[in-house]
Symmetry: C2
Subunit: 370 residues, 2 copies
């Protein structure tokens, strides 16, 4: 009798864990096929219109989905190039993550789903059978941000714990607008990219510090947002860096510090990197929101290329040609060149997505701390 009761409880468990009514729904979405086509599905029998958006598609476009007799809407797309893509469904006007896919892209507001189309053999951004570093989530009360507690995600390379005397250079790596401190790990695979480069002896072991880039709350009015970079700089210098320098075994000096980011984080890297050449020796700007006042603000550095080149050993600018920010990156690269400031400009195919940013990280990291 007890056994029968226990068995019935075990059957109930998934429903309890779901905290919603029991369901036998075994709908599969997304389904990634060997030919790299992907089927996306959502059960919505009462919906009138369901559409799909994936981040490899032009911003604002949608793919129609069609309904079967069971009320399941589906669309099969591709073949897609190997990558991790973000996607959403729009069900009668409501844009949502895929209800059954557990792989969620965390954001500051709203959420989306992720689908991984693996390469064979595994690409640089994929988890390979190599020694893995770890990513440590730190929580710290911020003095710069009125005592708010923020999380900072910090990658340490494989073997970090083994030699308590060894010190490591540090890459400060920033996400874009509406992303979170988890973004470079959970969508950017920064940890696997550095793991794989280390395993191929293409990069130096380093610590990667990934803080939360919205010092002003995402979604706040535009006049407040305008102060985000300045406040983030304050947070980075007075909260994040002291935590990193006191807790982790970091190598001292500007030659052991790099600053890089994507989109909004690229803009932050340029602004903070150029302002603090005493602290950083490398700047990476991936699809960057280049500061609009760059030319006037940093006129002093632009007019003294000898000193700037001596301090900022690496300025790496990358942008996809299909990214609306491309002209701005191009213009920024031209400005630097016109002032005889050394920089690398990587114009690639691609839009404003992590597909591009994972690739850039894989190209940028090997150049650091040389």
């Amino acid at each position: 009798m007890w056994k029968r009761f226990a068995r019935s409880i075990l059957v109930l468990l998934p429903a309890l864990a779901l905290s919603q009514p029991p369901t036998a729904d075994t709908l599969v979405s997304p389904e990634v096929r060997p030919d790299r086509t992907v089927a996306f599905r959502i059960r919505a029998p009462k919906a009138v219109d369901v559409a799909f958006f994936g981040d490899w598609m032009p911003v604002g476009s949608q793919e129609k989905m069609t309904k079967d007799a069971e009320g399941v809407w589906s669309v099969t797309l591709g073949p897609l190039d190997p990558s991790i893509y973000l996607y959403t469904f729009t069900v009668d006007g409501v844009t949502i993550a895929d209800p059954v896919n557990p792989r969620i892209k965390l954001r500051s507001r709203t959420s989306a789903s992720m689908v991984e189309v693996p390469a064979g053999p595994p690409a640089l951004w994929q988890e390979r059978d190599v020694p893995h570093g770890a990513v440590e989530i730190n929580w710290e009360k911020s003095k710069a941000l009125n005592g708010e507690t923020r999380s900072i995600w910090i990658y340490t390379p494989p073997g970090y714990e083994k030699d308590s005397n060894r010190r490591y250079p540090v890459l400060y790596l920033f996400h874009g607008s509406n992303d979170t401190a988890a973004g470079w790990t959970m969508a950017g695979n920064a940890n696997f990219i550095v793991d794989n480069l280390l395993a191929e002896n293409k990069a130096l072991p380093m610590i990667v510090v990934m803080p939360y880039g919205h010092a002003v709350a995402f979604g706040a009015p535009r006049e407040k947002q305008a102060k985000n970079t300045a406040l983030f700089e304050d947070y980075l210098l007075n909260d994040v860096m002291p935590l990193v320098e006191s807790k982790y075994r970091v190598a001292a000096g500007r030659q052991n510090r790099a600053i890089a980011g994507l989109s909004m984080g690229g803009g932050q890297s340029i602004a903070i990197g150029f302002s603090h050449q005493d602290l950083f020796s490398a700047v990476g700007a991936f699809s960057a929101a280049v500061p609009a006042d760059f030319e006037t603000r940093f006129a002093g550095f632009l007019s003294d290329p000898k000193s700037t080149n001596a301090r900022l050993k690496l300025i790496w600018i990358g942008c996809g040609r299909q990214d609306p920010l491309f002209p701005r990156s191009q213009k920024f690269a031209e400005e630097l060149e016109a002032h005889h400031i050394h920089r690398t400009f990587r114009a690639s195919e691609g839009a404003h997505t992590y597909t591009v940013w994972r690739q850039y990280l894989g190209e940028f990291v090997p150049l650091l701390f040389r």
Copy 2:
């Protein structure tokens, strides 16, 4: 001209980051008010029926939501006792997380949203102004699981990095069915609970190891699921524990190891803890899926209370009276008592939710390694 272009790009950024059409939607959901009532909202102008479920409500029940002239459906509930709750919307039959709330409960399948109703002064499970430990995500290729790479979330207490000679006892802490390795951190606040207990000098500094509990894929057929605990035991003993013992500064011996979990993880803790009294000295079973064959399987230990009591110094069983698993926990506690095995049975108010499990963790941790 460049400035105007740059400004227009900055306005576009949120849309780019969202990878979906620009929206001026500033809908607030959830809105937690000072009186602890909470308003939940979703913009779904074309929907015919929208309902709400929160995990403080009876499983299977729903609250109706009502639509305003703007097409926003809302319901205001509470006042709610301070806690972190899980909730979902069901829009014309499709159950989804809150589309605008970024605080997502990650699961093995499907997702839900979380809302925090804070206590004043902050409760034990809340982030307080105390020294914080960190949670490190480790990725490890598992020998037991056919080479699959799994993540293991590991809490180290504040100051762990400061004394490279100090060793710590370890709590192995397991989640429930359809949860993930992130669950005890992101929904259970295990890190803040231990931080706060340490700050009050109510617990001993310890490492908390949180692996992924689905050794057999969640959603696999029932006959495969039946092997989950055995396979998880294999994974724990041959992959997780060797990683922990080689990478972290852990104190040796069974007196420095505890094993505990909730629901499915409580069942795993009982099964593995009783089988490996050479490895563990404390077992915690929170709302546990007690193994159905416990009495026959562990007849040897039950018939030798003197030895069992000498080895398992602490057996802590807790369950909420409104939890369908309550009778099974009660029966388990009675079985142990009938065999003169020492145990604590904590019958509390509450159902099968993290509200109960956070409370249990706060009561269990202070008893460990004494």
